[in-house]
Symmetry: C2
Subunit: 268 residues, 2 copies
């Protein structure tokens, strides 16, 4: 039996999702709830897992596999000569109750259009940054990158800094991480091994950061600052984020796409 | 002394702003605070007036006059062969403390590029709609329209319904109103008279709606529903709104442009 990259990627992302959800539940008192969705007027769908807890104020993990035809404009944006597409991946955003715990985003995806490619990354958004957290987060990602190509980490770190940037505020979104797209410069199996290591690095480092910050004392003013800064997360995701735009354009499930938005936000 | 349309429009919008702010202050216990801003790296600027009160949870009124050069892409979007632009106008968004009071947006603007035109409109977003409010709001706008052209109201109402629509949710933003852009089908003085009447109609009808709803009792669940529905306002303004995009692209003041965002929002 031949296992395609689509199948391997689906199997990996589902397994990663299950292990991430278990790790997060172990840090909280709530449980994830899963909702399956089907793509309106097209092929595929996904499963959204959401937990609203005392530590994880709102965390969403979405696994989806979708296919069909893009409009010509969207296909051109993806540099594809053909409009037929297949996409599978996992996407995660966590907004935390305690302002001392950084918010986080992680995504890995595999696409097929006129060619195949991998994309993804993970980036950390602390409101009160601890140098130790930033160092550990970047250290884990550097480890995952270096095992595959010593050029990856500096390149993908810079790509992340450039991508998660709010031009209208001239501000980075957080303390970065790694970001990559259109990666197809080596055999698919080799890149699949790389994105797996990115997922594993995330699973190793982020729960550890949550564990050491979740019970730190904080003031109402610090909580208020967190709610205000979350506005930047909303601005980025709705104005600039490619994944959000892609999801909305391909008529993905709105709740699954916008699960990245924080539970409570203020604009002052 | 020759008075240009730029000068007339500026004088009108400043006067309208002052009268709107007085009318809103008369309904609340707070006062507007004004902040002047200059356009970074370009000509012009504006004055943002913001009140955070007990009735008006957050209301922003921005008067601006800006000029310079657009990039070619933005100029093409505005159907202009030249990139030089001048724009002046007033923009207002009110988010109300009591969920029984509708949120509102109003804007009138005058632009000069390879030609001149007027744009603007006003639309109402109730969370718990009262038929009387919807009828009065639309009635005031129909009156303003009909005095100039009986074809305006049906056309501009439909334009509003089409513009203030969230495709990703397949939902209108609220109960509509009127919307218009690129209006230059009659002499500038005649269209100026029309946009003045739109502004006056707004000033007549919206404070009246606020006055009759602001003290209505409501439950915490109704307040929570309002905060959730405000998410749609954020989604529309950041994903679709032309004025927001224009402002960010022309390096307007970020706080003035994003003053339209609600003070507190939830995504559940």
């Amino acid at each position: 039996m031949v296992t395609t990259m689509r199948q391997q990627m689906e199997a990996f992302t589902h397994d990663l999702r299950d292990r991430i959800c278990s790790a997060f539940e172990a840090l909280d008192t709530a449980k994830f709830e899963q909702t399956a969705w089907k793509r309106e007027g097209g092929g595929g769908g996904g499963v959204m897992s959401v937990m609203r807890g005392r530590v994880f104020e709102k965390v969403g993990v979405n696994c989806s596999s979708v296919w069909g035809d893009l409009d010509a404009e969207m296909a051109a944006k993806l540099h594809s000569a053909s409009t037929a597409f297949y996409a599978t991946g996992i996407s995660l955003v966590a907004h935390m109750a305690n302002p001392m715990v950084p918010a986080v985003h992680m995504n890995v995806r595999y696409l097929e259009m006129d060619r195949w490619w991998f994309g993804g990354g993970t980036d950390l958004t602390p409101y009160y940054p601890f140098e130790e957290d930033v160092r550990d987060f970047h250290g884990a990602l550097k480890g995952a990158c270096d095992a595959h190509d010593p050029a990856y980490y500096p390149r993908l770190k810079q790509w992340c800094d450039e991508y998660f940037f709010l031009p209208h505020r001239n501000e980075p979104r957080g303390v970065g991480g790694i970001f990559f797209d259109y990666l197809n410069d080596r055999p698919a199996e080799a890149l699949f091994a790389f994105v797996k290591d990115v997922g594993e690095a995330f699973l190793r480092v982020y729960p550890m950061i949550v564990a050491r910050r979740k019970d730190l004392p904080h003031t109402p003013a610090q909580r208020e600052y967190q709610l205000q800064r979350r506005g930047r997360y909303v601005e980025f995701n709705l104005i600039y984020d490619r994944g959000t735009l892609f999801g909305l354009k391909t008529k993905g499930d709105v709740e699954a796409i916008l699960m990245s938005l924080p539970p409570v936000v203020t604009w002052k």
